[in-house]
């Protein structure tokens, strides 16, 4: 299927202003690929999804799905949502409350003129695929959150879209069911031949579901890459916080990086020019006074907050170089770590990763 020259996936160029939000981005998704749009609330993720679905027009843009132009502000072409081969799973699923689960799944087929018996049969096949055959006659309000999500997915896929859009598909679920539903969703996305775009602000959802991660902040793409690249080499403070890394910016000369605040760090590998330095909170050690063992890689700061984080203690430091450090409860007692306390921090060179800006 991917060899068909007409099947090229999604290419979108979107520009729009909406209230205080300005979206300006490019998004390409190959057939069979799952791209996760990750970003904080209000970054423009859902707006982008609505534009792709045709529920919202953009001021300037070109959206192409396979060999069909869905929107082209240059020529004034705009394909209405009901005429796009695009399936949407909405955040709260938006199942039709007055229709049975089977009728919900068959709705798209019926709307496109498929005969009732054929539509029902196909709906039943989809329900079997998401493991809900025995729920076909139920009403949506009789379903759990996870089941409703699977019905919404089956409903979107039943009309055989070439682009599948999922808006926070796991946000409405509690932590327990989330794990299973996430794994199952991944399985269905892997089996889907079209392009998929998933919107989420949850890092774990993104890591599990994405073939490629696209991070959006304030309407623009700030980072794009494999989940692994994004998780190890964050490019913005938001991403660094999400993946639980400290992120510093500086200028590298060989294996030394001058961090903006006048501190020089020894790092694991040689580099040149403007770089970013990322390291996990466990790579940071805290001391009562300036450590004598190494002259470099240390700086003075102040404890901003102390929280339990699993079985370690997460210490947030303020000062010229704000970082987070994970230490043992014993260290908290020994070092007298409490908000406002002065402290020295050092970072182990081997646990840093350095990459160009």
């Amino acid at each position: 299927m991917a060899d068909d020259p007409g099947v090229t996936g999604l290419q979108a160029r979107i520009l729009l202003h909406r209230g205080s939000l300005a979206v300006d981005l490019r998004l390409d998704v190959a057939p069979g690929e799952t791209v996760v749009l990750l970003g904080p609330n209000g970054a423009g993720k859902s707006t982008t999804l609505r534009v792709l679905a045709g529920l919202l027009g953009c001021q300037e843009g070109l959206i192409r799905l396979d060999d069909e132009v869905l929107e082209d502000t240059g020529s004034g072409r705009f394909v209405a949502p009901q005429d796009r081969a695009v399936g949407v799973v909405f955040q709260d699923y938006l199942l039709f409350p007055h229709l049975s689960v089977r009728e919900n799944v068959a709705f798209g087929l019926r709307a496109r003129g498929v005969e009732r018996s054929v539509a029902r049969e196909r709906a039943d096949r989809w329900l079997a695929r998401v493991g809900l055959s025995s729920y076909a006659a139920r009403r949506p309000r009789q379903l759990s959150g996870g089941q409703a999500q699977r019905v919404a997915l089956a409903r979107a896929l039943a009309s055989q879209p070439r682009l599948l859009l999922l808006d926070e598909p796991l946000a409405a679920l509690d932590a327990g069911t989330r794990l299973d539903v996430r794994a199952e969703l991944r399985r269905h996305l892997r089996g889907f031949e079209g392009a998929s775009v998933v919107v989420t602000h949850d890092m774990l959802d993104a890591m599990v579901l994405a073939d490629r991660l696209v991070v959006i902040e304030e309407g623009t793409v700030v980072q794009s890459g494999s989940p692994r690249d994004v998780a190890t080499m964050p490019r913005t403070d938001y991403v660094a916080r999400l993946v639980g890394l400290n992120l510093l910016r500086g200028r590298a000369v060989g294996a030394r990086v001058d961090v903006d605040e006048g501190v020089t760090l020894s790092v694991a590998g040689p580099a040149e020019g403007a770089v970013m330095v990322a390291f996990p909170p466990t790579a940071v050690s805290l001391h009562r006074s300036r450590p004598e063992t190494s002259a470099r890689n240390c700086w003075a700061g102040q404890v901003a907050s102390v929280d339990m984080h699993g079985d370690t203690v997460r210490v947030t430091l303020s000062g010229p170089i704000p970082v987070i450090a994970d230490v043992t409860p014993l260290a908290v007692a020994d070092l007298g770590l409490r908000p406002g306390a002065p402290v020295w921090a050092s970072v182990k060179a081997l646990q840093t990763s350095v990459y160009p800006v």
């Binding site: 679905a53 045709g54 529920l55 209405a80 949502p81 009901q82 005429d83 796009r84 695009v86 399936g87 949407v88 909405f90 938006l94 039709f96 409350p97 007055h98 709705f107 798209g108 019926r110 709307a111 496109r112 409903r155 979107a156 009309s159």
Partner: protein, 272 residues
């Protein structure tokens, strides 16, 4: 709603001013006594004969038919109107909403006169109708239906509009992404979801149409068999034979109580 409940549960509920209670009792009696009067003075023994004489039956049948036709007419134009008010985005929506409510506050006689000026033989529309097709609406059974529909439509529109507001408009978007045209979405999603509200509105509309007097007698007149509906019949009969009028009134009262009971049932069983 919950706020109101909280107020009821508030401890100073017992601080209700004592002077209000006798006045409330007067209010209750004021509502109750006329109904009681009907029941007490009703000619129970000869009720069958009083009701099922020819004129009474004719008027009843005409009333039922006209009220039903008026309700259908109201639903036909009232549902789209309610949809426009609930979902439309345009200037003057508030004005349109006010316009819909006007027949509620307008004296029905004035409604009848107004219908004359529009659809009478010399009315702004009626004159053209007469010139072009020879159609004269006033004093026909159709005029009864039009008069009743004019007065009763607000009940239906307001009920359906309320129901539409309770339906998540994003369901329309979900339907659109599934390939449904706007018309298909309206038929398969919107209409079924407002059906309980539509039913309640239709019952209220029908009850109002059934009892319509002022606009009907003004615009349609009082011709036995064609425009003399039950309320008009009651009024006419009262002058000649008060006992028969009471019997007919009792019948209308029965219909009203049935409507009330039916509505209560519906409101209790309507899913939220």
């Amino acid at each position: 709603m919950s706020r109101r409940r909280q107020q009821h549960a508030a401890p100073h509920r017992s601080g209700l001013p004592g002077a209000l209670v006798p006045l409330a009792v007067v209010g209750i009696l004021f509502l109750l006594l006329p109904l009681l009067g009907l029941l007490v003075r009703a000619p129970w023994r000869t009720l069958g004969d009083e009701l099922f004489n020819n004129e009474g039956l004719t008027a009843l049948r005409l009333s039922l038919e006209c009220a039903s036709l008026a309700t259908i007419l109201c639903a036909l134009v009232g549902v789209p109107l309610a949809w426009l008010i609930a979902r439309g985005r345009f200037r003057g929506k508030g004005l349109l909403r006010a316009l819909v409510i006007v027949p509620l506050v307008l004296p029905p006689v004035v409604g009848g006169v107004a219908l004359f000026t529009a659809f009478g033989r010399r009315g702004i529309v009626g004159s053209h109708l007469y010139d072009a097709f020879g159609i004269a609406l006033p004093f026909t059974t159709s005029a009864v239906v039009v008069a009743e529909a004019f007065v009763a439509m607000p009940f239906l529109v307001i009920a359906v509009e309320g129901a539409l507001r309770g339906v998540d408009a994003r369901l329309d978007e979900a339907a659109a992404t599934l390939g449904a045209s706007r018309w298909y979405t309206f038929r398969r999603v919107t209409l079924p979801l407002v059906a309980p509200g539509l039913a309640a509105g239709a019952v209220l509309c029908w009850a109002r149409a059934l009892g319509e007097f002022g606009a009907t007698i003004t615009f349609a007149g009082n011709f036995p068999g064609t425009t003399r509906t039950m309320p008009v019949e009651v009024y006419i009969t009262l002058q000649q034979d008060p006992t028969a009028a009471i019997a007919l009134s009792l019948l209308l009262l029965l219909v009203s109580v049935a409507v009330l009971a039916g509505l209560r049932e519906r409101w209790l069983t309507t899913p939220g």
